[in-house]
């Protein structure tokens, strides 16, 4: 059977199909959005109310904001700025604090995976940016999370150059250890832990990376150096301290466990109080 040149390839049919889509997207939910608007880091922000009308329950939360923004643009107004990219819950870019929860009221998902069927018609939804001193607002709902990068730069790596490494199977790692390291490594660096923590502590994020490497044989040579550098950078960024409330774990879209923090603490205290080797400063040499 051959594939046919379809006679549907006419402008009229093409339009028909487009309108089909538009009809489908016409939902019947109406919501009031209370959105934090802030022109830039220097100016003060405030909440502004918007109507989100004709929202379909199948829309993702970000698609709902797209619809609102399209309306704003048509009116010549500045659209609501928010960070987003992959829209499938893995890049860690989206970062909305919705009705008191980072990534919204549902657990174990990112904002982009939140669907409007979670809300009900007529609801008022409050949308705020991540709030933390080390996460200054750039505009509206977008914040600067480069503090996370700087913490990773301080030691979140295994110092191996490209090439000259042993064969991958020369390092045997028990499956349970590899799986646990994976659980820690699954962090997407979105910052929901900081946003959720009443102390704006970044310890879940920091400890996840430390734990990943402290579990694996590859991470051992720099284990105690790494924890010291990363904790020092974390403190320098001005994040708060952990009080083990567990809010981070509860709100983490990747369900990173609180036990990572305990692991980091143990490594840190071992490094600082019991181990004798010097912490070698990172050289700014030839690399």
């Amino acid at each position: 059977m051959r594939f046919e040149v379809l006679n549907r390839n006419t402008t009229q049919d093409f339009r028909l199909r487009t309108t089909d889509f538009i009809k489908m997207s016409n939902g019947n939910m109406n919501l009031t959005l209370k959105v934090w608007r802030q022109k830039n880091a220097q100016t003060a922000g405030k909440f502004v109310n918007y109507k989100a009308e004709g929202i379909s329950p199948d829309m993702s939360f970000l698609e709902m904001l797209d619809v609102v923004n399209e309306g704003l643009i048509h009116k010549g107004e500045d659209p609501i700025h928010f960070d987003h990219d992959c829209r499938e819950g893995i890049c860690g870019m989206c970062s909305l604090y919705i009705n008191g929860h980072p990534h919204g009221p549902k657990r174990a998902i990112t904002t982009c995976q939140l669907h409007m069927r979670t809300f009900h018609d007529g609801e008022t939804v409050t949308i705020e940016p991540w709030r933390a001193g080390p996460f200054p607002v750039i505009k509206d709902l977008a914040v600067d999370r480069s503090a996370f990068d700087r913490i990773q730069q301080a030691g979140g790596y295994v110092s191996v150059n490209t090439g000259g490494v042993p064969d991958a199977n020369e390092i045997a790692i028990p499956k349970v250890i590899a799986d646990e390291a994976f659980n820690s490594a699954t962090c997407i660096g979105c910052g929901a832990c900081v946003a959720a923590c009443k102390n704006a502590s970044a310890m879940l994020f920091v400890s996840a990376k430390i734990k990943q490497f402290s579990l694996l044989p590859q991470g051992q040579p720099e284990r105690y150096r790494r924890v010291q550098s990363m904790v020092a950078q974390m403190d320098a960024e001005g994040f708060g301290s952990c009080t083990n409330t567990g809010a981070c774990e509860a709100e983490c879209p990747k369900e990173i466990k609180l036990t990572n923090i305990a692991g980091m603490n143990l490594d840190y205290f071992s490094a600082k109080l019991f181990r004798q080797e010097e912490l070698h400063e990172q050289g700014h040499g030839e690399g």
Partner: protein, 644 residues
């Protein structure tokens, strides 16, 4: 201008070793005198930036995201191929090479593909050394799986998040070099043009997305690691920010564009729910190992299902058409991506589609669940089922999944030679941004492999050859080309900002996407392509008259960012149409209705089309000029694919 791919002579297996030896080296003491610009921090960009910095070059790396860790490589699920033969199942570098060439429907270079297969083994070693937590067996060694219909188990994976783990590995290597002061990282910075001085790429113009500052950066070489252009279809599995701007600007400055029409369409994506849809979500094609693809036998039944008059679980067995199993008895549901996609489209075009939109087919696990038990299915696909449930609110353990193909990857990209250099001296393209290794169709689990191969193991060698040739003399940043290019960028931004029409940029983008999907998607015809060309042409003219762009340059302005990207997509779209029109054959992801066998299978035309199409930009509103790089096959015998 004639295209010289610079493939080294000699036997296939020795080409790369010989070439490496013949490449010039940069004296270690001189390396720090060179600045290298790396645009994009996905697998290719991050690995290249880190590796070059380790060698001693000064690297400036750029990404438009807020962190290099967020590049879209992170979303790759399935795995990464490597010819390790850890399974003792007959894999080898040559077999991986052969599978890749064949999978690419004989439209890739033998030399490049062999090199890719050759370095694939080093990638796994490198990633494991970095602490990438690949899946392991109880014995502590690495696990493998067979992927995408391959006959051997050569795919390494980290649950369904292989891309994430590999990217985080490269990101950690990059971080180490940032900490060492060898890489200067610019985040939330978008490249808007290349600066060409005396025919050589010597810098870029960027816009700081936070405050709109337009800056120039200089370097001895510029590496574009900016990913693919699947978002030209508006709906794709790409991230929202993925765009063609860097590559397209480079193209307009003289870099040829290779095989722009080659796009890969992935068969198992979650269907569109409406006009609000902003992107599509892919589900691993491993689902087809246990799921059965079907559609109702008749359009009437489909209508009843769509209206809710009939429940899918009540549909009788004899009313179901397991069309892949019926048409391809030996491969069944495991036919290659393009075949599965095309058949789903055919079903929908016949009015037999399902779901609210009628633009989907079923992927049914009922049989597997009854055969293996729900727990076994959950263990294999639990996370995918959860994701599907999350998005669609339908429980795939109870009702069949609905799937539909979506644009996933673009094999086309900037034309590069064996050294990954474009037709502009000193301008390189790596990863998905180049056209090089996948031919007309990419095998599953090969994208990650190519990105990392280019970044870790190819560019560190090949760039030295060029840098040694031009010498460590500092780049002349006073050269008028810098100021001139910056001025052109600013003019273009001002032109965009002056658009105060009545249609949003997204509306144009969506319309462009529909045209591309309809006429340059899974099946293409001369008639459709010609019509699309006109539609895009008009759409572009309308865009520059009636689009609305809000705000000003000196602020965080998503409206302006989008406008610039869509404007480039509107130009690229037309080139893709031209390329698809020119390629009067079916190959890989490119299916021309005029070129098919009696059974409806793709029919290649090796006699007339065994070449790489490299398009040269001349001037605005002038047709691009086609250059052909003939493909020479010395090692493999060209065969027609058949999955019957």
């Amino acid at each position: 201008m004639s295209l010289d791919a610079k493939i080294p002579a000699g036997p296939l297996a020795e080409k790369w070793s010989k070439h490496k030896f013949n490449l010039k080296l940069v004296n270690p003491a001189n390396k720090r005198k060179y600045d290298v610009i790396v645009v994009g921090t996905g697998l290719a960009g991050a690995s290249a930036a880190a590796s070059l910095a380790e060698l001693g070059y000064n690297v400036k790396a750029f990404c438009f995201q807020d962190s290099p860790r967020r590049a879209h490589s992170i979303a790759a699920q399935g795995g990464i191929n490597a010819a390790k033969n850890y399974r003792n199942d007959g894999d080898s570098v040559y077999r991986l090479f052969y599978d890749t060439i064949k999978g690419g429907d004989y439209r890739a270079r033998e030399g490049n593909v062999y090199r890719l297969a050759e370095v694939s083994v080093n990638i796994i070693d490198q990633c494991v050394a970095q602490g990438v937590p690949f899946a392991r067996e109880y014995g502590g060694l690495l696990d493998n799986r067979s992927f995408g219909g391959a006959q051997v188990s050569r795919t390494f994976y980290a649950r369904g998040q292989t891309g994430q783990q590999l990217l985080l590995g490269a990101y950690s290597a990059l971080n180490r070099q940032i900490n060492a002061g060898k890489v200067k990282m610019y985040t939330r910075t978008e490249m808007l043009d290349v600066v060409i001085v005396d025919g050589k790429a010597q810098g870029i113009v960027t816009r700081n997305l936070k405050d709109g500052k337009i800056e120039t950066h200089s370097g001895h070489a510029v590496l574009l690691c900016t990913g693919g252009y699947g978002n030209v279809f508006y709906l794709s599995t790409n991230a929202m920010g993925c765009n063609v701007t860097a590559a397209w600007r480079a193209h307009k400055r003289g870099a040829f564009f290779g095989n722009p029409c080659y796009t890969q369409i992935h068969p198992t994506c979650i269907p569109v729910t409406g006009d609000h849809q902003s992107k599509l979500t892919l589900m691993s094609e491993s689902l087809r190992n246990d799921g059965r693809v079907w559609a109702p036998k008749t359009a009437e039944l489909s209508q009843k299902l769509r209206k809710g008059e009939l429940k899918v679980t009540d549909l009788k067995e004899e009313d179901r058409d397991y069309f892949l199993e019926r048409k391809y008895p030996s491969f069944g549901n495991l036919v290659p991506r393009d075949v599965a996609s095309r058949n789903a489209k055919e079903i929908v075009d016949e009015g037999r589609g399902v779901g609210g939109s009628g633009v989907a087919v079923y992927l049914d696990f009922a049989e597997s669940i009854s055969r293996l038990g729900e727990d076994a299915v959950r263990a294999k696909y639990g996370n995918l089922f959860d994701m599907y449930y999350q998005i669609t609110d339908e429980n795939p353990y109870e009702v069949p999944m609905r799937i539909y193909p979506a644009v996933h990857y673009t094999m086309g990209g900037l034309w590069v030679d064996y050294n990954l250099m474009t037709t502009v001296q000193g301008l390189y393209a790596l990863g998905e941004a180049n056209f090089s290794d996948h031919g007309a169709n990419r095998l599953g689990a090969s994208a990650l492999m190519q990105g990392l191969a280019d970044g870790y193991f190819v560019i560190p060698y090949t760039i030295g050859d060029y840098l040694a040739t031009i010498g460590p003399k500092p780049v002349d940043t006073k050269h008028p080309a810098f100021e001139q290019t910056k001025k052109e960028v600013e003019e273009r931004i001002n032109k965009l900002l002056s658009l105060k029409g009545n249609k949003t940029v997204d509306e144009y983008h969506r319309e462009l996407g529909l045209i591309m999907w309809e006429y340059c998607g899974m099946a293409r015809s001369e008639e459709g392509l010609k019509k699309a060309k006109g539609l895009i042409h008009n759409l572009r003219a309308d865009f520059w008259k009636n689009a609305i762009v809000i705000g000003e340059n000196e602020e965080f302005n998503s409206s302006l960012e989008k406008a610039g990207r869509v404007a480039d997509f509107l130009e690229l779209g037309e080139l893709m149409i031209d390329d698809a029109l020119m390629r009067h054959e079916s190959c890989g992801g490119h299916f021309r209705l005029e070129s098919q066998t009696e059974e409806g299978e793709a029919k290649r035309d090796d006699e007339n089309f065994a070449f790489v199409a490299a398009w040269e930009y001349k001037a605005d509103n002038q047709p691009e000029v086609l250059h052909k790089e003939e493909l020479v096959f010395e090692n493999v015998h060209l065969t027609q694919r058949s999955y019957k």
